[in-house]
Symmetry: D3
Subunit: 297 residues, 6 copies
């Protein structure tokens, strides 16, 4: 997307992309089910981090992640995974562990595959995580964006829903990014369970609407735009059996008027027929009149 | 130990033993280390529960456990393990899960084996567990001890250290046990990390001293008696390289005078030479003058 | 099906269901084939027991199994699986092992998955099993059905085909069940290999016809009704490529006239297109005029 | 041992050694115990066959095995192992399988490692095996020893203890071997559990004494010579904690007088200190005056 | 195909088929990808050998392989697999290993499964293998075909492409086979990467055209006939999405005129829709007028 | 060792240490043996690289490796391991793969554990590797040492023995290191098999003696100093059963006189009693009069 964005010059930037978010240890029982497992494979995962990892390992870009872990063996295992992922760990903050997991923990996520009529299952166990306790001031954005140099910041609505402090950190980060000419992408990723005990959908909309003013590339499906930003869409398929884009397109039209800073709006769309057979589609809107801007990379 | 205790008649009791405590999911990387694992075997474990499991599977006794889990797949996996252990689950309480692990969780314990000069490692991740939120009133002890019938209650100092409410529950349970003629054993098992944020050693001693008045069989090594009950012992081997029982025996003499209700005091003792070579010993004191009591089972 | 059956009151019954049958150790080579395996996963399984396990773990009912094992480590492994399955083991009989497997054994079942044009394979190794040597008098049905209390007895044609003594035990059990108001279900499950050396189809029909008089819920497909009970059905699809119920329905009409005690007749039906793609259907006939009976649970 | 035996010329023999015995599928739970295994590694094994395999894979000799399997997937898995072992399968007899395991089976052996004070455990499940049903006439020894050519026959007391027919087969084989100039070795390997239901120690001695007259190399420890051949030895260490050869040597003296056909008597000796620490020794007596015989290989 | 070929009498032949080719150790990461594997399953494989193995294990024929390995543990592992495959190893040549893998190696092949849009991947690592260094004179064909006796020789275009010496060995072998009345089959199996550094397609055609004059059964698809033998075919489906045989049939007509020695021309044909869904077909041309030849087996 | 070396200032250096050497994929059959493995665990390894990995993961230093891989999936797997090891990959050179492994490969190393009297085994398969083809000019040392900044270069005698070009590259590197004030350590690590076909011990000594003039920290045992540098030592224990340092110390005295540039000479020493029980020692000589040098870090 060369001409849509005024990406900073690679020569002046240590990283092509910085992801801001939580990384959890994913526990996966393989072919079987969690409730009778005797063995779990482990992986790392996190909506915001996954973007940094994919860009590094599939496309060879230089990426880093800003996050925090409790300083224990589980945190070190997560670091081991991030290293393997090729994502730089210099902005990982290490919080002293209390030896119990009361004050601070590392986030876990138990997941199992669906099969036929049985859906896939995810059991997040991420309360009180070091990442959820991140707050404004924890990262020196001027040093990161200014001195080290970053071309793109990616963060999202899951991280913003982790606590009372992460929304403030996200807002701090996206404002600083804008200041330093760093392109900002944001994945709305609305999760009711995360918002429930910290203000619900009302609070989610307050947070996300403020963040949205600093976003260049907004990612989200119909439900995300509706729940996180308060837009309304008619005729959505509740049962997720068909992919119909017309209503969604209308809503995007509204959104890009409300937020003239959006340069791209995109999402993938899935219609699950069974746990193993899914239809996939993707939609991407781009503010192409901006193509004529001079001076792009 | 037939004549030391007036055990209730087996015919009137559904269970030979009830354990009160937390059960954690144990994650075990096998031969390797947690910090570079890609697979974990899982097991269940918990100091109090392990007694109930061992009595069932090695000695064929009927046992049950009083505990609580968050109602999710991880809790159900723990239930699966308890069933396999042959320990009855009727006194497992199921707490609604919040979908995040902020309000309530199931306790986890990452453990790895030592090797040569490198010690074994345990990383408990048990804060905010359903079991730690158990409180007086959660179990109907009159129904359990009276109607169903239980011959022996086993609980311990780890469970009493989980929160501000578990000490009260332990005290409620041991008092009720005494009332119903149920023998009480208690494993002091002092863990500084657990007490640190809920009152420290001072609070540990308050709690354990109160509980001790209702205990028939007290289990603990020198450190446990010192830290949990405030006894002092001279000449303990800090480096745990030798097993010397004389000082410990003196301390037991003091303890059984302070607590005339103690009928047995016992512990296992380990001197770790390397992570793989350990010397083991065990000591057991019994108030044998009680042998003459009539009417024992 | 609340009003079809006069189920006994749950309050007076220790178990919702008791299964009578054999449980085998299932050896499963996973993705590969038995004939070049170097590792087997193990599970427990048995047509009658599977019903008790499913009701316990999927629906939370209280179930038990009446069976027998040779008293050795393999038998104890089977017990370990049954415990994990949540099925009570109090009616498991333990037969002394001869150290060789000549006089008594535990049943095994090697099974492998089909793939494409290659069908699934099962190699039972169940001769001389402890369960096959069960005989009338081995269980105290009055104590089980009367004192402990059972609401439903499930057994079937596999167990009845194990030896010369198991048919008599089944007949004893279903008669006693009827006496105690216990609903009886029976899965015909005709297996020519089992009957071959103990009287063939002729003996199978003698046995199953006698049992049928005490059955409330009869389970079986066309082949089961034909081979086990001697009914005839026209136009069955030998190659199992299509599911056509009309002929089967006619046969059910005949069967429920012959056996007025049948309250429900049901089965699942599978048409295997390849080893991995199957069409499934199910049919269930119910004697609905019985709905008006008063006093049902 | 070139000059002790008049080994047949290699050029005229298809096989250096033929083993006659049963081969079982060995199921091995690895580090854990059978009674809570969820996975078994499998291997093949059998006292007589192991000699043929070792000579082939460690010393490169040409060997074959005379045995029988039930013709099913388990039998084919055993064949797969024998092929991997490099032992020729042309004298494996395939018995039709009855689909149940009543009439004929393949022998299994569940084994687990000991640990510290817990001894190793083996649970043979070999009753009714195809090998145990082998009988005189099943192999054409004149063709095998005469036409194909075999230099050495190895068999043993386990195979001879499998049934009422295997002793006769062993006697037939060793007589024919002698006739064809084939050296015979025999491993006494006394197992009370095998003999118990087919005549006990009395029958064991009848059988082994007859066989002994045709044996060149007799293998067995003190207990084997005592129980299988009726010799007596004084001062044996019942607890197997020390290896003392003097009594054993005296007994060998007696044996080689009774059986002047013995050219070598040998055994390994183990003193088990714990399940993991054992002392090993070996003893070998040879009738060395035979060295002077001319014409040896 | 009894009457197409004058197969030699089984009674005079030690082997039904001899395969001449390389066998590689196949390293397989299972469900995952090579580039992040931590574990590989291993198998043996090789186009020519696979035919010998299949005939032995699926159809019970007696087969052997003529090949070479470096004498080290990896070579011995390959031998272990060939033994398991039931293929005789007497014509395996063992080349001294240099301890480094500079002068001689054993061929390896890393392979991973495709998934959806991602194709399967194979990474051969077979340069400098012992098999690629085989040359005329390495096998005593008169002894193999004449004295031991072989009914059918199978070799192919992969082996002929391994080096400058293997083509000469193949030509030597097929000529000698013809001399001894051994039927010859040849799988063209054109691989551009193998020919690239030893003469390219031009050299491939020289070699294969010479070999073709001694072949009875020629195996190859359109690309094989075109690239290896220089025939031209019109309208081939480059994208391999459909199977259209008409053009291929025309080309076969031309081929069997050019090479009147061809008695059968055959191939399997695959149209890959995705990495997991493929359409399969097969085509076989036979020179049926030869049916009338007298004296066939 | 702060005052022995004038280490460059950390602030001006991107890396604490750069390792120059080959990294191989290590294939490990676990508990069993290579020759009957069906599964291998994989790891990365290489004498020079291991130092960089250990400093990064155990001591938190910043390290990188200068090496080369063939550009294929196996090379990418090695990269995946290096990333996990936390060692920077910017100086990894990627050589185009020929699709066969004739022109260029990635080095492999099959290794198995010893057991009791059976020694451990390693089967390197590293001929024609990309790393062995590295040559002077392949790395821009002025940019690496000068601009990026490196404090310590570690390389060794295995890498110098890989081919005719790697010695020249090592000499180029150590000279440049000296020029830029980079401390140089060198592990002699003499391997006869590597030198055999490229000039033998004579060439080994030529190469190592030249390199030795630029080394600050020389690592090697008695055999290394003898074979690689031509020093002689008396009374070495050929059977490696005892560790006797006196002769070794005398030889070090000679060596540090010959090479006044050596500041440290060190090695670990192992006396193998069995494959599993080893005595270990270490020896380190330091030129301590240099402690008085001013201006050290």
């Amino acid at each position: 997307m060369p001409s849509l964005f005024q990406l900073r010059d690679r020569a002046t930037c240590k990283y092509d992309l910085l992801a801001l978010g939580e990384i959890m240890l994913r526990l996966d029982p393989g072919e079987g089910r969690i409730r009778c497992a005797r063995e779990f494979k482990v992986w790392e995962g996190g909506g915001e981090y996954n973007v940094a990892r994919g860009l590094r390992r599939c496309f060879g870009l230089k990426t880093a992640v800003a996050t925090a872990f409790a300083e224990n063996e589980v945190g070190r295992l997560l670091e081991d995974f991030i290293l393997q992922g090729g994502v730089d760990t210099e902005y990982v903050r290490w919080t002293p562990f209390d030896g119990v997991g009361r004050a601070v923990r590392n986030g876990l996520n138990f997941t199992e595959r669906g099969f036929g009529v049985r859906g896939a299952v995810g059991i997040p166990d991420r309360g009180h995580s070091a990442a959820s306790q991140l707050k404004p001031g924890d990262f020196d954005w001027d040093s990161i964006f200014g001195q080290s140099g970053v071309r793109w910041l990616h963060t999202g609505g899951i991280f913003a829903a982790l606590s009372d402090t992460t929304p403030q950190l996200v807002i701090e980060a996206v404002k600083k990014a804008r200041q330093h000419g760093v392109i900002v992408s944001y994945d709305l990723n609305y999760r009711p369970s995360l918002w429930k005990s910290i203000g619900g959908k009302k609070r989610a909309q307050e947070v996300n609407r403020e963040i949205a003013h600093y976003v260049d590339v907004m990612i989200g499906n119909e439900e995300d735009f509706t729940a996180s930003l308060g837009f309304e869409v008619e005729g959505a398929d509740e049962h997720l059996l068909h992919i119909d884009l017309s209503a969604f397109k209308q809503m995007i039209e509204k959104a890009v008027k409300t937020y003239p800073n959006f340069k791209v709006v995109a999402t993938t769309l899935r219609a699950a027929k069974t746990a193993t057979i899914n239809d996939w589609a993707a939609v991407c809107w781009a503010r192409i009149q901006e193509v004529s801007r001079p001076g792009n990379t």
